[in-house]
């Protein structure tokens, strides 16, 4: 398939996934903020979302204080914020538009109508109608586009590059959510009583609350939450699940110079395949997650270089 087409497909799916994960993160933070607690703690978790996306400077240009409504407005519907849900949906649609002939009619119509609907409402309208409903809507639209892809698209290269975009983005986002929440919830790394509501909300944000119950049949502890999100091979949003699928997808699209990228992916995968949560926690979860995110970033660069960005003409 054309490199440029693959590039658009890869980014199209990354942006959809990003919009969904952002909706999940904002949703869980919003819900947590409704649980009685000091205002300072609440604002700290809103601030973490800005920090997570390295948007401190852009945010400070528009707002002088960090609070729920400002952060929501900035991250949900600010067209100037390239990381907002609004911008992600627009970029997903623009990438799709550039290759709409490669998509099935159903996929294109899903993305196009998502975008048309997203630009209809102002933030105030969304907020007054219940911001939780909006997050649900974003998640459903993302599910719908994944569903139409799975249900209608030929499983050729187009499918593989879409899948790859989704998986890399999701691995990165799950790591981010875990990193920021683990930090906020256990700022000193102390072994104090865990807050059922907060860890429960975190699990729900990655649709893992029921999964946790099924897998552990026990009370929620931070270690197990981390273990589930990193190591569970069957949970679709865990790091190991994502890397398992990345490896398989890379095998299918491999070309004559993608060997190094496959090796890097394999190394990262083996850490997840054979690692233990105890070792990671001893080493420091934050350090481990930062390293993981760096390596996902490099993997994305490798894929871009090997497949997506036009190759040397002499090749």
């Amino acid at each position: 398939m054309l490199s440029r087409t693959a590039d658009h497909l890869f980014w199209m799916s990354r942006y959809i996934e990003r919009a969904e994960n952002l909706a999940r993160l904002l949703d869980v933070t919003w819900q947590m903020s409704l649980v009685p607690q000091p205002l300072e703690t609440i604002n700290q978790s809103w601030n973490a979302i800005i920090a997570l996306n390295s948007l401190e400077e852009a945010y400070a240009k528009k707002y002088s204080t960090v609070n729920g409504e400002n952060v929501l407005k900035f991250m949900v519907s600010d067209p100037d914020n390239f990381a907002s849900i609004f911008s992600c949906l627009r970029m997903a649609r623009e990438n799709a538009h550039a290759v709409r002939g490669t998509l099935t009619t159903e996929m294109w119509e899903t993305l196009n109508s998502t975008w048309l609907e997203a630009r209809e409402k102002t933030f105030e309208q969304l907020f007054n109608a219940g911001i939780g409903d909006y997050f649900e809507w974003v998640k459903m639209r993302s599910s719908l586009s994944r569903g139409t892809t799975l249900g209608t698209l030929l499983q050729d290269d187009a499918y593989h590059f879409i899948r790859l975009g989704t998986l890399l983005e999701r691995a990165d986002n799950t790591a981010r959510i875990l990193d920021v929440k683990y930090h906020v919830l256990r700022p000193n790394g102390d072994e104090g009583a865990t807050d059922f509501y907060e860890w429960g909300a975190l699990l729900r944000s990655v649709s893992a609350f029921e999964v946790y119950r099924k897998v552990y049949r026990d009370v929620i502890t931070p270690e197990r939450v981390a273990e589930l999100l990193i190591f569970n091979k069957d949970m679709p949003r865990s790091l190991q699940f994502c890397l398992n699928s990345v490896i398989k997808t890379l095998e299918k699209i491999a070309n004559s110079h993608s060997g190094e990228t496959e090796r890097q992916a394999g190394m990262l995968h083996s850490q997840l395949r054979y690692g233990r949560i105890e070792d990671i926690l001893d080493h420091g979860l934050h350090e481990w997650l930062s390293d993981f995110m760096d390596r996902i970033y490099l993997l994305g660069n490798g894929i871009s270089k090997d497949f997506l960005v036009p190759m040397d003409e002499a090749a």
Binding site: M1, L2, S3, R4, T5, A6, E94, H97, A98, V99, R100, G101, T102, T105, W108, E109, N112, S113, L116, D157, F161, I253, N255, S256, F307, L308, P310, M311, E313, A314, A315
Partner: protein, 470 residues
Amino acid sequence: MNFYNEMYDAQGGVRAHYKGYEDWLKATPSERIARKRAEADLAFHRVGITFAVYGEEAGKERLIPFDIIPRVIPSAEWKSLRSGLRQRVKALNMFLHDVYHDQEILKAGKIPAEQVLNNAQFRPEMMGVDLPGNVYAHIAGVDIVRAGEGEFYVLEDNLRVPSGVSYMLEDRKMMMRLFPELFAKHKVAPVQHYPDMLLEKLRAVAPKGVSNPTVVVLTPGAYNSAYFEHTFLAQQMGVELVEGRDLFVKDEVVYMRTTQGPRRVDVIYRRLDDDYMDPLAFRADSSLGVPGILKAYQAGNVTLSNAIGTGVADDKSIYPYVPDMIRFYLDEEPILNNVPTYMCRKPDELKYVLDHLAELVVKEVHGAGGYGMLVGPASTKEQIEHFRKLLIAKPDGYIAQPTLALSNCPTFVEEGIAPRHLDLRPFVLSSGKCVDMVPGGLTRVALTKGSLVVNSSQGGGTKDTWVLED
């Protein structure tokens, strides 16, 4: 002025081929029609069948209005049109081959040589280049109007990158979806095989020795006004949609950049004007084309469709000579009429034009899309005086034609159903072996009352076109 009405005769009686539709229209409650029209609008929006308008806010997309009253053509009329189109496009292709080879028609004095050789659309680069099947215009969009008592005229031959075929196909799909009962009652000739026919023609003109050619559609990009159509055709044919930057030339061979490395390209259905095709040969500032592609083309390693240099045959200053081409190459009398044309470069004809500006239609020789034209009877004094200055300053840049009493057809507009003027663009496909087309074509309709300009860029709409089978 009296206009030929497609649905009703001069006495107000419904024409035989519209009888079935008219009965249905009368019997169908207006609420149902209104609902269906709203449904059509919504569906076109969701599918994203839009076009970008030049000169408006960048990236802005508009719908082309779709009218649910079809344009119906009886079988006998279509057969005669089809013969006329085949004849005309065949002669135009022979003309193109001739002017880029032996130039017999110029030697015979049928067309003034300077008219051809000094034409900006004449490409000396094409001299002596042999093309598969000697075909230049593989895809021609011939604009046909009906005037007077209902006779057909060719308004212009579009041989460069004619567009609109996707609307023809989408309009049919929409009509079948909205009103299946109409198709059960009428024998409407199908058109949906157009992409198949196009692919077959493109494969047939692949370079010599290529048995399983790789065909691509080349688009200027997502901001082009016809981008929807480019993606549509590529998808329907199952071929790659490429931009210039996806292609490169090495050793006079064209490749596309794929995730598996370079892959050779044999046939390019390009939706890009000559000027932008190759920055090394034509406009150096073009970033839309492919450097070196002209050399690859001249070497016979790739087929461009349409060929480079077809503009010399659809230019408005060459148009008046098409009937002579038909006589010269085919030794036949033209089946389709040409509109009488005044060539302003001839002093006596210019004088006539200047004296009758208020009655004539004046067109730029190289203009297209309804831009840069004057419709005398519909213009203000200022507009006419403006064109008078343009004509005196640059007479060879213009032609003029009598204002035709274009036929009209009942159409849904704000005040209800009212007659609006229309034209027809059949898409004529040629390979070396034969000239083919799907029945009918794209019907464009001017939605503004009294307007004779049907171009979508000027607010025109479209109708489904039915050729009724016997």
